[in-house]
């Protein structure tokens, strides 16, 4: 069965810290995505990657970076965490061919104090 695993369900960090969110998928999917979900705003795409070492900015990349050194792992990095980055972060993966569903992890609820 398809599985996307996010390293933490809950995380509390301090303003200014460098924060790493990790995501691993076991389906050999080419595409991986990072979203943030906020009440009333739905899911917004931060970054996505369509291959190892390849990345594209989503709708809200400011304040974030990503790393994809291996096909199964996609990391989201908050370079200097700020309180407005408190949110639910969701990772997803999918195949490349046309019209594919995305498979999601259970999310990381990140609080920046």
């Amino acid at each position: 069965d398809v599985k996307v695993t996010q390293s933490s369900r809950y995380l509390v960090k301090r303003t200014g810290e460098k924060v790493f969110l990790e995501c691993v998928q076991d389906m050999d999917h080419e595409n991986m995505f990072w979203y943030r979900q906020d009440p009333g705003l739905g899911l917004r795409l931060i970054y996505f990657s369509y291959d190892v070492k390849m990345k594209e900015k989503g709708d809200i990349p400011e304040g974030y970076s990503v790393s994809r050194e291996k096909k199964e792992r996609f990391s989201l990095i908050l370079e200097s965490a700020s309180t407005n980055q408190t949110s639910m972060y969701l990772c997803a993966s999918s195949r490349t061919s046309s019209a594919q569903p995305q498979h999601f992890g259970d999310g990381t609820r990140l609080s920046i104090l």
Partner: protein, 116 residues
Amino acid sequence: SQQGEEDPQALSIQEGENATMNCSYKTSINNLQWYRQNSGRGLVHLILIRSNEREKHSGRLRVTLDTSKKSSSLLITASRAADTASYFCATGPRTEGEAAGNKLTFGGGTRVLVKP
């Protein structure tokens, strides 16, 4: 910006009733997908309908797509308490590039409460 807008934002029904929610979008699409999210969890894919399809069924789910009106509906028949969740539509763009075509744009969701 949100491509899909769900309506209503919230829905409360009794167990056994049908639940209908709608999604409108703005630009041309390749496909439209519906997802469910239980509280505090990730999204689960329910059903995908391509732009050349008008209706699709999966168990108690029925999805319609009207590309002329840029809208879709999700019907859950004979609802159960376990159907309590948020439901999201997501659109996949019609685009030349294969990588860009795998991006989805999500709407704000409909919160459904099924009372026993």
